[in-house]
């Protein structure tokens, strides 16, 4: 069973704020979901390679050629707080913790 502290740590990793009520709630839900995954313990995966692409493709490249993209206006059209061609955000603090 996940502890409240573990849930808070996961939420910090995921950069998602959670209320204390939510912490308790998620601890229960996540625990039962994670318990269900214990089904995998009995599966023998000796000699099996992890599947990273269903059809085995890798490294699909294109020519390094400049092609048309968005204008600055198009790219910034959805910015919540804009200042000219800049995006305004709160000050980045000196110490950001983990």
């Amino acid at each position: 069973m996940l502890s409240d502290e573990e849930v808070r740590k996961i939420a910090r990793l995921a950069r998602v704020s959670v209320t204390e009520d939510e912490v308790r709630h998620y601890a229960g839900e996540l625990s039962s979901i994670l318990d269900y995954m214990a089904k995998l313990e009995s599966v023998n995966v000796a000699e099996v390679e992890a599947m990273t692409h269903v059809h085995g493709s890798s490294n699909v490249f294109r020519e390094d050629k400049v092609v048309p993209s968005f204008s600055v206006e198009q790219a910034l059209a959805n910015v919540p707080d804009r200042s000219g061609q800049f995006i305004r955000v709160p000050l980045v603090q000196e110490e950001l913790g983990e």
């Binding site: 939420a11 995921a14 998602v16 996540l30 599966v43 990273t52 493709s57 000050l91 603090q93």
Partner: protein, 486 residues
């Protein structure tokens, strides 16, 4: 004489080209029907002016003799698919005012075929759900019984076609989100082979599992739609460079020589009795049409749900990291500092199911747990794919089984039990894990008149066999001719 909204895509093409009615009249009929049935809550965004303008342009093309397969035909598009200049929300508060500066490739292809974009359909937030009860814009009702779910996550796309307020629609399928709602709404729903259809412009949930596909009222319409959206796209590095076959031409009435695999692991525990009866009757019907049934085993079926609920949330936690309130979307109003900007934007912008999955994803990818969960899941995934490969190599040409373990459940019935909700996808998930094509088509109704779907699963890039079997089955039955009573 059917009204325009009852016509199939083929009949609409004939009627429009034969000037029985105009594209503008057709668009107006659909917009009027949408309004009459707005209690279903199928649409998040409707822009009637744009619809009529596109229809007018279509009429000019038709008059000039330049119609393409979908010219003048309105198609509903799941709100996870980017439409240039039209709000695209993925049913989330975090994107509630996001207006994409570009069309997804599948939308570009729809437009190139002359289609009119009818509107953006409701869905579970970020495609996470099996009932369309996780939307920031409210739940969608099943037109067959308005106290029940249409299925999810493409609930709006399914309900709109079933309710006859759209002739066809696009959805996406990551763990069953097209096939399960198709089954619950009596429609044909296609999930093409992974890599058959471009994901460019589709808001990403799980990049190794997501695929776009159509909902339609019959197999031929589904084949037409699948053909329109398929094809290699240089903008999607996971799309495969393979020619697109003529899916319509694959439809046949004869299944002589076709071996249909019946996986024994799909007919145990948790499968509703009436669903089993209908599906088994459908399998019998296939033998009447000339096919041979072969019992097969997919031994790692039971592990599939666990594998999916490790891999999909892990990929989602990575894909949804971009929603940070900085460049687009919702931003928390009074952030204390930059970290608070991120955490509060995401805490307030995402719904509970999305947060749940992001946290599972963060957990299984975190140091100390990566090997036990994510790496193990990727290995079991390879085994699941191998089960299918061996079945296809040695025993059968196509696989047939149920699409959903039950018919449509009641709204609210599973919301407080996420695990029970996840079990709705037990038959569809393995197909996404193996990257195979899958479809659901109508095969009956239960004693409450709720639809039941038959699932077909094909070899990679062999959608043609699925269309062949589905077409033959449909032609010998009447399920697809039934419609919900208004």
């Amino acid at each position: 004489m059917s009204t325009p909204i009852e016509l199939s895509l083929t009949e609409l093409r004939k009627s429009l080209d034969g000037r029985k009615f105009s594209a503008v009249e057709l668009a107006k009929s659909y917009l009027s029907e949408i309004d009459k049935q707005k209690d279903l809550n199928c649409f998040i965004t409707l822009e009637p002016d744009k619809v009529l303008a596109e229809a007018e342009a279509s009429d000019k093309e038709i008059a000039a003799g330049r119609s393409k397969s979908l010219t003048g035909i309105p198609i509903a598009v799941k709100d996870i698919i980017s439409t240039k200049g039209t709000r695209t929300t993925a049913a989330s508060r975090i994107l509630e005012n996001y207006i994409p500066p570009y069309d997804a490739t599948v939308v570009t292809k729809l437009r190139a075929a002359g289609a009119v974009v009818l509107g953006k359909t409701n869905m579970d937030e970020f495609a996470m759900g099996s009932s369309n009860e996780n939307s920031h814009f409210g739940k969608v009702k099943n037109p067959w019984d308005k106290e029940r779910v249409p299925g999810g996550s493409s609930g709006g796309s399914a309900a709109s076609v079933a309710a006859r307020i759209a002739p066809a629609s696009l959805g996406t399928d990551t763990g069953g989100s097209i096939r399960q709602p198709a089954s619950l709404c009596s429609l044909v729903g296609i999930k093409p082979t992974y890599g058959r259809v471009s994901r460019y412009g589709v808001v990403a949930f799980a990049s190794s599992l997501d695929q776009v596909g159509p909902f339609a009222r019959n197999v031929r319409d589904a084949a037409i739609m699948t053909g329109v959206i398929s094809g290699h796209d240089p903008l999607d590095s996971t799309s495969m460079q393979l020619p697109v076959p003529n899916f319509e031409a694959a439809i046949s009435s004869d299944l002589k020589g076709v071996k249909v695999g019946v996986p024994k692991e799909y007919f145990i525990g948790g499968l509703d009795k009436e669903v089993e009866t209908s599906v088994r009757a459908a399998l019998s019907q296939l033998t009447e049409l000339g096919a041979e049934l072969v019992e097969i085993s997919l031994p790692h079926t039971e592990a599939a749900l666990s594998v999916y609920y490790i891999i999909a949330p892990a990929e989602a936690s990575s894909n949804l990291a971009r929603y940070d309130g900085v460049r687009y979307g919702f931003r928390t109003p009074k952030p204390k500092d930059l970290i608070d900007l991120y955490t509060s934007t995401r805490g307030e912008g995402f719904g509970p199911e999305v947060k749940r999955r992001i946290m599972i994803g963060a957990y299984v990818l975190s140091a100390g747990y990566f090997d036990a969960y994510y790496l193990k899941a990727q290995k079991v995934r390879a085994l699941i794919a191998r089960d299918f490969r061996e079945a296809f190599e040695n025993h059968c040409d196509v696989i047939a089984c149920p699409a959903s373990p039950s018919t449509a459940f009641k709204l609210g019935e599973k919301v407080s039990d996420p695990l029970s909700m996840y079990l709705s996808d037990v038959f569809t998930i393995p197909v996404n894990l193996a990257g195979l094509p899958g479809m659901s088509l109508p095969c009956g109704f239960d004693s409450k008149k709720l639809p039941i779907g038959l699932q077909l699963i094909g070899k990679p890039f062999n959608e043609e066999m699925m269309f062949r079997v589905a077409g033959a089955y449909e032609a010998s039955t009447e399920w697809h001719k039934q419609r919900p009573s208004n």
